[in-house]
């Protein structure tokens, strides 16, 4: 029947393949994730300070919900990872946190998202101000076809942060761990940089305008393993000064960088409509070692997706 979609069959194939592996292997993988995650010491529950609060958030495209009824807090100076299978709405949700979904016609956000108690979607809220405070780094590096210097200066000029432009640019490139590689060729085209350098330039560009939160949408998925590691190291450094939300396909990556992890899954409704739901949100080590929900356990042990 034509209603059996490609992902369905793939999932089933993966599930049956996973079942053939022994429980021991699965638990080894889970233990490894837990071990990686245990290296972080997330802020204890009573000291967490929420920056973004999501309450019953549903993001829809042309009336069809893509991710439903998400309630969670994003905490200050923590790295929060969104993980889950393809199509679970993690990127969609991330884009609603700095109103990038405004650019897509037909996209609507229901429920409430507040930033330090201020409604992100309030009628008098300026999306430009939202994006200055909540920056974003995309899946594929997207430097402008300008010089390295002008790429970082772009946001600064935009927001009138022109005093000490050179110092601000140097500082942003330092923070993104790119300064030493580009200091002698600031006026050269950004397109001549490698993919990993381009992505760090995009991070520098986002940091230059001094945001409080940085959203990262699978920032390393287009990069090789070495460049990926540099980005992960960078994320670990940046959380001293920034609150970071990172979407990732890769569970090891979540275990390596995230203090808190939110696991999303796909809910298939009666009519066949699929939408993402938040299954579990916990400190990363807890989520990997003691998942509370069987769906999370299936995912982290590799029995699903």
């Amino acid at each position: 029947m034509s209603t059996v979609s490609e992902p369905d069959r793939v999932e089933k194939a993966e599930v049956s393949q996973a079942e053939s592996t022994t429980d021991a292997v699965q638990h080894q993988a889970q233990a490894k994730l837990g071990e990686l995650a245990a290296k972080h010491t997330p802020v204890p529950e009573d000291q967490r300070e929420p920056v973004l609060r999501l309450d019953g958030v549903t993001v829809s495209y042309s009336g069809a919900p893509a991710v439903c009824d998400v309630t969670m807090d994003v905490f200050k100076y923590q790295v929060t990872a969104f993980i889950g299978p393809s199509g679970c709405g993690k990127t969609t949700l991330l884009r609603s946190l700095n109103r990038m979904n405004d650019l897509i016609t037909g996209a609507t956000v229901d429920g409430s998202i507040t930033y330090h108690g201020h409604n992100l979607y309030g009628s008098s809220v300026d999306a430009v101000e939202v994006r200055r405070r909540i920056g974003m780094v995309f899946q594929r590096p997207n430097p402008f076809p300008k010089s390295i210097y002008d790429n970082v200066a772009f946001g600064l000029r935009l927001h009138g942060m022109k005093d000490g432009l050179d110092e601000r640019i140097e500082s942003a490139l330092h923070k993104a761990a790119l300064w030493d590689e580009v200091k002698d060729r600031l006026k050269k085209s950004a397109l001549a940089l490698s993919g990993g350098q381009q992505q760090r330039l995009c991070i520098a560009r986002a940091l230059a305008i001094e945001p409080e939160v940085v959203l990262m949408d699978e920032p390393a998925s287009a990069l090789d393993p070495i460049a990926t590691q540099r980005i992960e190291d960078l994320v670990n450094d940046l959380k001293r000064d920034y609150t970071i939300v990172i979407v990732t396909h890769n569970m090891q990556q979540a275990a390596r960088v995230a203090d808190m992890t939110a696991f999303f899954s796909v809910d298939v409704k009666d009519g066949g409509h699929r939408n993402g739901v938040l299954v579990e949100y916990a400190p990363t080590a807890d989520l990997f070692i003691r998942p509370a929900d069987p769906r999370t356990e299936a995912y982290v042990t590799g029995r699903f997706g």
């Binding site: 990038m100 650019l103 200055r132 995309f138 402008f144 300008k146 927001h159 305008i209």
Partner: protein
């Protein structure tokens, strides 16, 4: 091994027919391609042969001969063509680029499609109709002027500039737009500071091609800036102005063999201008495409 026993060699009537059909089709397609090139070659060779005797320094440095006299050059016509197409470009370029920006960046899909269709229809309107339209709108009651001619040419140029600019704006990948907006730039600001600089090569190309096309248009000028053009260089666009296409048109109808030869020479000058524009545009457009490939 003989052909009879080799299983890989076709034989018999069917195989021969198949082979023949293939060869005939290939020959026909090749002939059609060659024909197009040959037509251009014939035009260029004839033009060059007829025009060469009249190509000399005087042609470019002398004004048209006064009525009843022979000799002279087409200096005033060249200046006129430059001024008229210049004014036409000044009208069509900003209008065309803004239109393209509106269509690709701001217009809802349906409106954009409608405007695209309108532009296609506009570019298909016979230029003589544009000439008559401008005649009725501007010339009647006011008299001919270079402004009127330029207005007519700008209508010819507008869809060319707008469509080509639209095409290159659509080539600019959307992740650059997102990058701009994620830094807090408004849509308009992103267009001005990111999208346009990325697409500038394509816009220049579109303009050059449109200018080359407009420089050769005759019909819009026929009704608007063709009579009492004078025989000296005129730089006042509120008066009728001589132009290369009009020189070709009027001189070729005269009984004076010198005037006829001058028409050929003017034709060659025009073709060279148009060809140079097209080739420059082509080269520039290849460069722009490569540049945009880099950011994709």
């Amino acid at each position: 091994m003989s052909a009879q026993t080799n299983p890989l060699v076709g034989h018999g009537g069917r195989a021969r027919r198949r082979k023949l059909t293939g060869q005939v089709m290939e020959a026909l397609a090749t002939a059609a391609a060659v024909l197009a090139a040959v037509v251009l070659a014939i035009v260029l060779v004839t033009l060059t042969k007829r025009a060469l005797p009249a190509i000399n320094v005087d042609l470019f440095t002398q004004n048209a001969a006064p009525f009843g006299q022979t000799g002279g050059g087409i200096k005033n016509a060249i200046v006129g063509t430059v001024i008229i197409t210049g004014i036409a470009t000044a009208i069509a370029l900003p209008a065309g680029v803004l239109l393209a920006i509106f269509n690709t960046e701001f217009a809802p899909r349906r409106l954009a499609d409608l405007i695209g269709l309108t532009l296609n229809v506009l570019s298909g309107v016979p230029t003589i109709v544009i000439g008559v339209f401008i005649f009725g709108l501007v010339v009647v009651g006011r008299g001919q002027s270079a402004y009127a001619g330029a207005l007519g040419l700008s209508i010819v140029m507008l869809p060319l500039v707008a469509r080509a600019t639209e095409e290159v704006l659509r080539l600019v990948p959307s992740h650059l737009r997102e990058g701009g907006m994620a830094l807090g730039a408004t849509r308009a600001r992103t267009v001005i500071t990111v999208i346009l600089p990325t697409a500038i090569g394509g816009i220049v190309t579109a303009t050059i091609v449109a200018v080359a096309r407009a420089a050769g248009e005759t019909a819009p000028l026929l009704f608007t800036t063709s009579i009492f053009v004078g025989t000296t260089v005129n730089t006042d666009p509120s008066q009728a102005m001589a132009s290369i296409p009009m020189v070709i048109f009027t001189s070729s109808e005269q009984p004076d063999p010198h005037a006829q030869q001058q028409a050929w020479a003017a034709a060659l000058v025009l073709v060279v201008i148009v060809l140079a524009g097209s080739i420059a545009g082509r080269l520039l457009s290849l460069r722009t495409r490569r540049q945009i490939e880099q950011v994709r």
